[in-house]
Structures are given as C-alpha cells and as structure tokens.
Symmetry: C2
Subunit: 157 residues, 2 copies
C-alpha cells in the first residue's frame, strides 16, 4: 500500500482522447474542473483503447484485463473510489488507485500507471485528481514545445 499524497489534490476530468495505432503514441488530456488548466499524458495503445471503450459505452464480448480488474475488485465487496495522479518524475506520471471496501470503512491504495487508473476510474464513475504540484510543473513546461499529438514531449503514463 502506497503513502497518501501530500500535495493539495485538484479535481480533473477527461478531455480529448487521441488514439494512435502504434504503441505508446496515444494521448489523453486532463482538464481542471471549474478551471482552465489542462495537460496531456502519453499512454499506451491498449489503455487508450480501453478508455475509448468506456467513453463509447462499448463492452467487449469477454472481459479484457481492465474489466477483469474491475470485476475482481467488485467481487470482493469493494469499489474504485478515485484515481489520484500524485507524482511526476523523470518525465513519467505516477498514480494511485484508491479502493473503498466494507461500505467505506476501509480504504486501500494501490500504485498504478495513470492510464490504468484513469481507465478503471472512468468505468466506475469515480473521480480523477491531480496533485497541485504536478499542475504547476506541467504549466511551467508549457513555455517549452507545444504538446501537439505528434510531439513526443509530454510525460508518459
């Protein structure tokens, strides 16, 4: 179980999803709820496909890996409470998936890639938060190259 995040956490929502057929060239954008800040995360093709499936309400014929994870958590009487993106180091984002069990009596926190945690949170209708310190960091990065879809600069999930 990972430590709780220390920075102030900001509520975000999913913006655009840009899927690329080649590996690790898909993007998602997170937007500040009730705010103007937004930033992209480079994610893998498989996770981008799963996020797209959730957004378009597609259920695969058989449970894929994310659906299995989701079903396993729910089969244990727990649910996905939140996705927290808590760190940005070496151009890589780090997230935590927050689970609630026992009718909210217990919380479990699991380290995850943002792409996986966001995919699972979206499927559960759970919230997405990002540490204020990360929002400041990615904003300061905007003085650099514009993070267009073809730009390899945005930090990876």
């Amino acid at each position: 179980m990972a430590d709780a995040p220390e920075s102030k956490m900001i509520e975000m929502q999913l913006g655009r999803v840009i899927r690329h057929d080649t590996a690790d060239r898909s993007y998602i954008f997170l937007q500040e709820k009730g705010g103007a800040r937004s930033f992209p995360i480079v994610i893998g093709r498989y996770e981008a496909e799963e996020i797209y499936r959730v957004l378009t309400k597609q259920d695969p014929r058989r449970p894929l890996t994310h659906q299995l994870a989701h079903a396993a958590i729910e089969s244990l009487g727990a649910h996905i409470a939140r996705c927290d993106i808590v760190d940005l180091r070496d151009n890589t984002f780090f997230a935590q998936l927050v689970l609630s069990a026992g009718g909210g009596a217990t919380t479990a926190v699991v380290d995850a890639r943002p792409s996986d945690a966001i995919a699972l949170a979206l499927r559960s209708g759970a919230g997405i938060r990002v540490a204020e310190s990360i929002l400041e960091q990615v904003r300061s990065d905007e003085s650099g190259p514009d993070p267009l879809p073809e730009d390899p600069a945005p930090p990876q999930s």
Copy 2:
C-alpha cells in the same frame, strides 16, 4: 459472480510459451499434471508478454495492468486461489479467476479470458485447472490440423 464449474476439473501446468510480435498470434500450451494431455491456447501479445515476464521473474519498472489487478486484489486482503478454464464454445476458451478472501472464509469467482487468468495465477503461484470436458474436446480436435505455431486453428483465449 459466475457459477462454479460443473465438469470434473483437471490440474494443469504451463508448458511452452510462443510469443509473436503481431496481435493474437502468441501461444501457450497447457499440460496435464501427471498425465500426457496437452493443448495450445492462442493468446494476445500483451498477455503473452505478461506471462513471459512472470516466467522470467521480470518486474516492470511501474505496475502494468496485470500487476495492478494483482495488487488491488491483495490490497483488499484477498489472494488469487486458482484459474479454472471452464468452457470452450465457438472456438473460444472461457475461464474463471477464483479469489479467496477473509483468510479463506470467502470465495469470489470472476469471469476472465484464460490468458489473463493464467497470467494472474502464475504470478500468485496459484494452480491452473481445465474442465475434463474441454480436454476431451481438444483431444478429439487433434484428428484435424496439427496445431503448429503458424496454424490459426487453436481456440483463442
């Protein structure tokens, strides 16, 4: 939660793993423990890579989707007890991941693709079982084309 399997269940172990770079062209072979029966399952590239990582004791730098599923299950005080391959319909295998919680007091059963369930079972040191009816079915199939790695005939996970 899925129903418990009705057929007699046979203990299996993982045999060869054949990875292909293209999607859905990797194979794993399951072998009967203390028996001679064996059969291949076509699995996806992503799941083949995860099974290979488990076999070669590689831990990715950050948790990938299977590791996240595994960690989430364990964070809830449960563990993966078994992978059961329970059905073969329309050339497709169906599996169940059996979870044990509360120190063995509770069992949860989740529908899964065999590739995901086998990957998670292997990482947990849990057993793999296949329904006797499936073993009979794949054996009778052996009168057909030989399931060589380049043969698209074996049922998919």
